[in-house]
């Protein structure tokens, strides 16, 4: 087995201290430490550092910590799925469905203003007269014309002449 260099110790020294090396690697490190005073000293000093770090006391979270976490969690908005956005409640969903049905029914219903082609052609032909309808109905000279003579009054007049 090759003797390990000091440079390779860099990546192994903490694993060695933690006892996380494989047996073969641990033996390799121990073999190096037996022959290298500098690395051996470093391992001891690193152990001392680790031991000093153990001296730091722990702090306890404040009594209000849990209460504040719970309050923040409780203040979180309730997450809704995408389906919840589409159907917030059965009543609204039912109302939406009925509205959609009404729109479809109105759209498919035959229009009351439908005109057959023959009538449409006649209307087009009379359109100039219809456009002047207001003028013709309010044309003053026409009001001076004598009333049209009907057959019935004529018969009455003939009867009167005969009696005379």
């Amino acid at each position: 087995m090759d003797v390990m260099s000091c440079g390779r110790m860099e990546n192994r020294i903490l694993s060695y201290m933690d006892g996380r090396l494989k047996d073969s690697e641990r033996l390799e490190v121990e073999k190096h430490l037996a022959t290298c005073a500098a690395c051996d000293l470093r391992v001891n000093e690193f152990r001392a550092v680790s031991s000093l770090l153990d001296e730091l006391p722990q702090i306890a979270p404040s009594p209000a910590f849990d209460v504040r976490v719970r309050a923040r969690v409780a203040a979180e908005p309730v997450k809704q799925s995408w389906w919840a956005w589409i159907a917030p409640s059965p009543r609204v969903a039912m109302a939406g469905a009925l509205l959609a049905l009404c729109i479809v029914w109105v759209g498919l219903r035959p229009s009351g203003y439908a005109v057959n082609p023959a009538t449409e052609a006649e209307i087009n032909q009379n359109l100039p007269v219809l456009e002047n309808y207001d003028v013709l109905t309010n044309f003053e000279p026409l009001t001076d014309l004598p009333a049209p003579v009907t057959d019935e009054p004529q018969d009455d007049a003939n009867q009167a002449n005969q009696q005379m």
Partner: protein, 199 residues
Amino acid sequence: MARSDVQLMLDVKAGDEQSFELLLHRYRSPLVNFLYRMVRNREQAEDLAQEVFLRVYRARAEYVPSAKFTTWLFRIATNLALNSVRDTRHQRMEISLDAPLAADSEDGDERPLDVADQHPDIEQHLVAQARSKMIRHAIEKLPEKQRAAVLLHKYQELDYGEISKILECSESALKSLLFRAYEALRVELAPLVAQQAKQ
């Protein structure tokens, strides 16, 4: 038998709020301590720890147990801590390392859990306090990533694979990072190290 972290998180995902309480109870202390040692301010550490739990809760619906829960948890915590440290770096530089103990709110925050039993007389207590302060300041002087690596390795006892995922580096890079951090601590704490090595 206690449910695993992953099982608790899956139960939270299924809507069990009580499982979230168990995770909170299990990790509040490690998180607050980790964040306190990262940011050196108790109030800020607690705010960040709350934010970590909140993010865990928010992410419950998308949670997939692809890694260890602690890896995920401390990754969130580390990212928050690193951002916070970077944001407040200039403020932190202004804090005097020589400020009196009573005036140093950060030092004053630290309440050893069993001081009374460990330090029967005041002189020993003061010596221990001075040592603690020196160690804290040595950790504080480490670059942020080295500090995070040491804290996760030493206090959370996470394995190298987990820490390297949290810090987003290779295992080899992590070992190198830890080596440099321990080297810096060894130099910074030389008087205590020499004393310790003799014992």
